[in-house]
């Protein structure tokens, strides 16, 4: 469903992505692990097109999308959430979800109708609001709600484009254990045919939702396999847990 071939990217002397080749099957749920600075977010940026790789290619549903801009990839069913909340702060939660749903349903550029009043948009907004537990906050402005609520909305906005492939950049970053548990349930309740690629630091969550695990270190894939194998791998402990404990 989503594939990279020999992806490579440097910023000056810093080699941030080294020859990364990944392959996600439809419905696969993969977690990317790796210490800070391993190039996880940079990889995401290249997958969605916010960064252009120096070499290599990105394939979405069998088609080479390396040359496509961000918006065109998104319209082919690729969606992402950000590690730092990237929301429409002055607008309400409902409007945030509505903007995403409107782009998906094609009413985002219509001049003759209000996108948020359209039944197909309303349906998505209500459904996603339920999925991410935001039904009570729909009328609140983003600037007025708590960090945890924004974190949920961050994922909600990504979901409201009804993606085939969803990239989530540390969805539980900065939230308490209780809310992390909520994300856990959310992930388990997502449709099984949605392909998921998640950057996650919470190990319990990672091993629980992952079908497969990829470990990045210094921009390089150092492990790619089943969670059971990752758990036992000394390499992973050394690279990831080692530096994790150091930090």
């Amino acid at each position: 469903m989503l594939e990279t071939r020999n992806l490579d990217k440097s910023f000056g002397a810093v080699h941030v992505t080294r020859d990364v080749s990944l392959k996600l099957e439809r419905g696969e749920r993969r977690v990317i692990l790796g210490p800070n600075g391993a190039g996880k977010t940079t990889l995401f940026n290249q997958l969605v097109g916010e960064l252009t790789p120096d070499s290599g290619s990105v394939h979405l549903a069998g088609a080479d999308v390396t040359a496509l801009p961000v918006a065109k990839r998104a319209r082919r069913g690729l969606s992402r959430s950000y590690q730092k909340n990237t929301l429409f702060d002055g607008l309400t939660v409902e409007e945030n979800l509505g903007l995403a749903a409107a782009v998906h349903t094609g009413s985002a550029t219509q001049l003759w109708s209000d996108s948020l009043a359209k039944p197909e948009v309303r349906e998505i907004v209500e459904e996603v609001a339920e999925q991410v537990n935001l039904t009570d906050f729909l009328q609140a402005r983003v600037s007025e709600v708590s960090y945890g609520v924004r974190r949920q909305l961050e994922v909600g906005v990504a979901l409201a484009t009804r993606p085939h492939v969803l990239l989530m950049d540390e969805p539980t970053s900065g939230v308490g254990p209780e809310m992390a548990k909520g994300f856990h349930d959310l992930l388990n309740n997502l449709p099984r045919d949605l392909t998921l690629l998640i950057i996650e630091h919470d190990m319990d969550l990672a091993f629980d939702v992952a079908d497969t695990i990829t470990v990045l270190n210094y921009g390089e894939v150092v492990f790619d396999g089943l969670p059971e194998a990752a758990r036992g791998s000394s390499l992973l402990k050394e690279i990831y847990l080692g530096s994790w404990e150091d930090a």
């Binding site: 916010e50 918006a71 998104a74 985002a108 003759w112 109708s113 996108s115 906005v157």
Partner: protein
């Protein structure tokens, strides 16, 4: 996204009533000033849509207005098209020009956007100034007003023309609200708040910007067509960047992103200009000082200031209501 609140509706009704009263009772000079206000109001509505709701601070809206005016003048006076056809063609042309400018400038932000629009505006200005067909510095005269004798209105009468401009302004205001509340308007708000995320959601951002800039330019062109019909004479000065600058001043003085505010600003600006220029030839000095004072005060213009005061009161009232409610709950719990 644009919302009406009680304050905006009240001010809007007051403005409409005042304009209507003026249009029905004023003498020749009063009508001229009123018409000037109404035409400027249309231009600043156009600018507020682009700058206030889309973050596209344009310094070429004066030039777009000029393009509308010249297109109408050439098409009606020289090419011999009937005024309604010439008017429609002028609007289409201005909208098209603005769409292209919007599409080209969509990648630029902040000061670069301002400069890029300034460049396009100056390009139009120089072209009109140089090309012989536009009459150069002398301008063009003998421009006909729209013929509405079919419905028994003679627009050559200044009272009728003022009422006609008022009706057009009303229609433009309604259209602006509809644009801002449409799917396109909502996406525009999304782009202004967070362009990166809109793109990540799959929106072709430059198209939204170009479409809105095109619509905004078309409205500016309409202001130009009316201006040409009003004075029945046009000169390249209409396209000068200072006209765009003044329009921006009016939008800011009135209150950016409020639609109603720029209307107040337009009235205030024209009246101030006439009052001051009667008193002193240096009215620009006074306008400049007021402008600096308003921007430095960090209020969002006159109307923004009123809204902030109003909002403060409404908030206090809401807080009071909440307190009362809570007291009641506590009492009933006991």
């Amino acid at each position: 996204m644009f919302r009406h609140n009680a304050l905006r509706c009240t001010v809007l009704l007051l403005l409409a009533a005042a304009a209507l009263f003026q249009a029905l009772t004023a003498g020749y000079f009063g009508l001229e000033i009123l018409t000037e206000i109404l035409i400027l109001a249309i231009l600043v509505l156009a600018l507020d849509i682009a700058a206030g709701f889309g973050g596209m601070v344009s310094l070429c809206h004066g030039a777009l207005m000029g393009v509308g005016a010249y297109a109408y003048a050439i098409l009606s006076a020289k090419a011999g098209l009937s005024p309604p056809v010439a008017m429609a063609a002028a609007l289409a042309l201005t909208g098209g020009c603005a769409w292209v400018i919007g599409a080209i400038c969509a990648r630029s932000h902040g000061i670069y956007f301002i400069m890029a629009t300034l460049a396009f505006g100056q390009m139009a200005y120089s072209y009109v100034f140089e090309a012989p067909v536009f009459g150069g510095d002398d301008g063009l005269g003998g421009i006909a007003r729209l013929d509405l004798s079919l419905i028994g209105v003679d627009l050559n009468d200044s009272r009728s023309f003022a009422l006609f401009c008022l009706a057009v302004l009303g229609a433009v205001y309604g259209a602006s609200v509809l644009i801002l509340r449409s799917g396109l308007g909502r996406s525009l708000a999304g782009v202004m708040h967070n362009e990166q995320r809109m793109r990540a959601l799959g929106l072709t951002v430059w198209r939204v910007k170009a479409d809105v800039f095109g619509l905004s330019g078309m409205i500016a062109g309409l202001a130009g067509v009316l201006a040409a019909q009003h004075v029945m004479y046009i000169s390249p000065g209409l396209l000068s960047w200072t006209v765009s600058g003044e329009a921006l001043v009016v939008v800011i003085l009135g209150g950016l992103g409020t639609l109603v505010g720029p209307l107040v600003g337009a009235a205030a600006f024209v009246l101030l200009k006439h009052e001051l220029s009667a008193l002193t030839p240096h009215w620009h000095l006074v306008v400049g000082v007021i402008l600096i004072a308003v921007v430095m005060s960090r209020a969002n213009g006159i109307f923004g200031w009123i809204e902030a005061c109003w909002g403060g009161r409404a908030e206090r009232r809401a807080a009071k209501a909440v307190r009362k409610q809570k007291t009641k709950e506590v009492l009933s719990d006991a």
